[in-house]
Amino acid sequence: MSGPTSTGVSHRKLAMWTFIGSECMLFGTLIATYMIYRGRNIVGPYPADLLNIPFITVTTFVLLMSSLMMVLALSAVQRGDARGTKLWLAMTALFGLIFLGGQYYEFSHFVHEGLGLSRNLFSSSFFVLTGTHGAHVAGGVIWLSTLFIRAQQGKLDRTHAETVEIAGLYWHFVDVVWIVLFTLIYLLV
C-alpha cells in the first residue's frame, strides 16, 4: 500500500532488509556446519585435492563485477536513462549467469573426479553450502531478467527506481555471502 510510513522507509525496502537479516542466519548455519566439518573427512577426495583456486578466483571476480553492474543499473534507472538501465541490468544478469556456469563446471568436474554429493563429509557440506548460494544467485538472475524484460517493455522508468534498488540489495547480499564463502572454503583450504 502507498502512503507515508512511520519510519520513512518503504515497506518493501524494510521487508528486504528484514529478509536479509533472516538469510544471514540461514547462511550462518550452513557456514558454521562447513567450518565444523573442515578437516573431519575420513575418506577422500579432500578439499585440497580438488579445489581449483585460480578458476574460482576468476568467477569470483565476475560475480564482484556484477555488483558494479548492479550499481550502474540503479544509477541509470534513477537518472531515467532507459538505455543504460537495460544495458546494465542485462550485464548484471549475464555476469550472474557466467558465475553459475563456472559453478556448474566446478560441480561436474568434482563429480567426475569421484566427489559426488554423498561421497563424504566434505562433499555433503560443500555442495549444500555452495549449492544454496548458487540457488540464490539463480533466483537473482531470474529476478534481474524479469526487470530487464520490464525495461524492454518500457515499464521500468524512474518511478520504479526503488524496485531496482531492492533487487540490488538482494544481489549485493548474495555477492557478500560469496566473498565469505570464497575466503573460508577456497582461500583457507
Partner: protein, 615 residues
Amino acid sequence: MSANGSHESLYAGGIWSWLTTVDHKRIGILYFVTGFVFLLVAGIEGQLIRTQLAQPGLRILDPELYNQLFTMHGTTMVFLAGMPLITAFFNYIVPLQIGARDVAFPRLNAFSFWVLLFGGLFLYASFFFGGAPDGGWFAYTPLTNAEYSPGRGMDFYILALLLAGVGSIAGGVNFLVTIVNMRAPGMTFMRLPLFTWMALIVSILILLAFPPFTVGLVFMLFDRTFGTHFYDAAAGADPVLWQHLFWVFGHPEVYILILPAFGVVSDVIPAFSKKALFGYPVVVFSGILIAFLGFGVWVHHMFSVGLGPIVNAVFGGATMLIAIPTGIKIFNWIATLWGGQLRYTAAMLFAVGLVATFTIGGLSGVMHASPPADLQQTDTYFVVAHFHYVLIGGTVFGLFSGFYYWFPKATGRLLSERLGAAHFWLTFIALNVTFFPMHFSGLLGMPRRTFTYAEGLGLDLFNLISTIGAFIFTLAFLPLIANLWRTWRRGEEAGPNPWDAHTLEWTMSSPPPHYNFAVTPRVDRRDPLWHPHVEPGLGWAGEVEPGGVSPRLQPDDPPEPIVMPDPSFWPLFMSIGLLIATIGGLGSLPVTLVGAAWALVGLFGWAFEPSEGGH
C-alpha cells in the same frame, strides 16, 4: 458502508471470498479456526497417551502407535496449534492496536496462512501413507535417519515443517514491517500496547530462529534421501549437530510461544484492574531481554549429552538469568493488580491464572537449569510437568484470556461470563490434577516417551491421577462449546468497548468495518480510551455516546474514500505449487519440478497483479 452493516459484510460471502481474502481480520479467523481444530486433534492424541498410561502394563495402544501419537501430539501442539493461534491474534489485533488498516503485505499474509494449512494437512496425511512420524517432536538423529526410521513418517515431518516454516518466516517479515512502519501518528514505540510489542519481538525471534531449523531439516532430508553425511558419525560427522541446530531454534521457539501470552496478559490485567500497567518500560525491556537471552541457553536441553562442565555451567547460569526478567514481569502484573478495581471476567481469570501457574512452571524450570539436578530430571516426567505448566499454564491460558477478551471485538457478541468462569476453573483444575503428580512420577524416575511402566514402582497412583486430570481437560471444553453455541444463538450486542478497555482496537464498532479505521487516529498516550477527547483536526472523530461509559472515537462512515487491497487468488495458487513441490519431496523429482514451476507461475502472477483496488 455503515457500522451496523459491517457485522454481516465483514464475514459474509461465499467460499471463494475466503479463498481469496487478503483482509487481516478474515485471515486471523482462518488461522484461529485452523489452530483450534489442531488443538483439539492434538488434545485427543494427548488423551490417548494418558489413557494408555492410566495403569501399568496396559496395551490399549501398541508401542509403535504410541510413538506416533506422542510425536504428533508435540509437533501439532507447537507448530499447528500454538503458532497458528498466536498468529491468529497477531493478525486480528496488531493492525487494530497500532491504528493501521491492514498489514504491510496483505497477500503475503494470505500466503503464510495457506502454506501453514497445507503443511498441517500434509503432516496428517502421513497417517494414511505408512504411518505418522515417530521420532519425537525434536526428531533426534540417529534415531530419525534412514537406517532407524526407514518408513515415510520422518519424511512427512521434515517436509511439512519446511513448508509451514516458509509461512512462518514470511509472517515474521510481514509483522515486523507492519509494526515498525504502520503505526498511527503519535504511536511511538513506547506507546505501543504490550501485545503488539511482544508481536514485534516474536517476529524477530521467528526470523532469526527458523533458519537454523530449516537448515537442520534440509540436512536431515538430504541424509535420508540422497545419502549425505551431515549426521553420520561413522563418516566423521558431529553426532549432536542436529541437537544443536534443533535447540538453537527450539529454545527461542518456546519464547515465540510464551511472549505473546505475556503480551495478552499485559493488556488484559490493566483493562480489568482499571489501572495503567505498572512499570510499562520495564515490562517491555524485560520482554526484549528474555528474547535476547533465549538465544544463549539452548544447551540446557542437552546437559546430559556430555559437553563438559564448563559449557554446562555457562548455559546453566545463562538459563537462570532468564528468571530475572520473567520475575520482573510477574511482579509488575501483581503490582498492576494491587489496588486496582478488579473485575474477574473470564479473560481476567485466565490472565491471573497464568500469573500463578506459569510461576510454578517457571520455578521447576529454574530447578533443571542446574546441570546436576537436570541429570536426574532429564527425560523424566518431571520435565513433562515443567513444560506443560509453562505451555498450558502460560501459552494456553494467555491465548484463552485473549480469546475471551477479544471475542466481542471480532464477533460483536458477548460470551457468557458464567460459562467462561466454568471453563477457566475446569481447565485450571485439570492442569494441576494432570501435571502436578508428574513432578513426583518424574522424580521417581519414570521415563518419558515409553509406552508403559511396570507395577510396584510407586508410579501407579500418580499416573492414575494424571489420567483423571486429562479427562477433566476434555470436560473443560464443554462449557466453552456451550458458550459458543449460546452466543451464536442469542449473544448480547457487545458494542464498541464492552470492557471499558484502553487501547485503539476498542475505538471502532464490533466487528470492525473491513477498513478498520474510518479516520486514522492520532495517539498521544498509552491508554487513549481512558482519556477521551475530541480534537477536530487531529484526526480523532466521533463523540462520547450518551449514557455509555465507552466513548466511541471512530465515526460510522469514513469521511473520504479508502483504498483497500483487492482479494487475490495468487497466494493460494502459489501455495498449491509449493504443496505439490513438497509432495514431490517424498521421492519424485519430476513432481517437485512441476510444483516449483507452478509456484513460479504463481509468483509472476502475484508480482504483476495490480495490487490496489477501490474501496
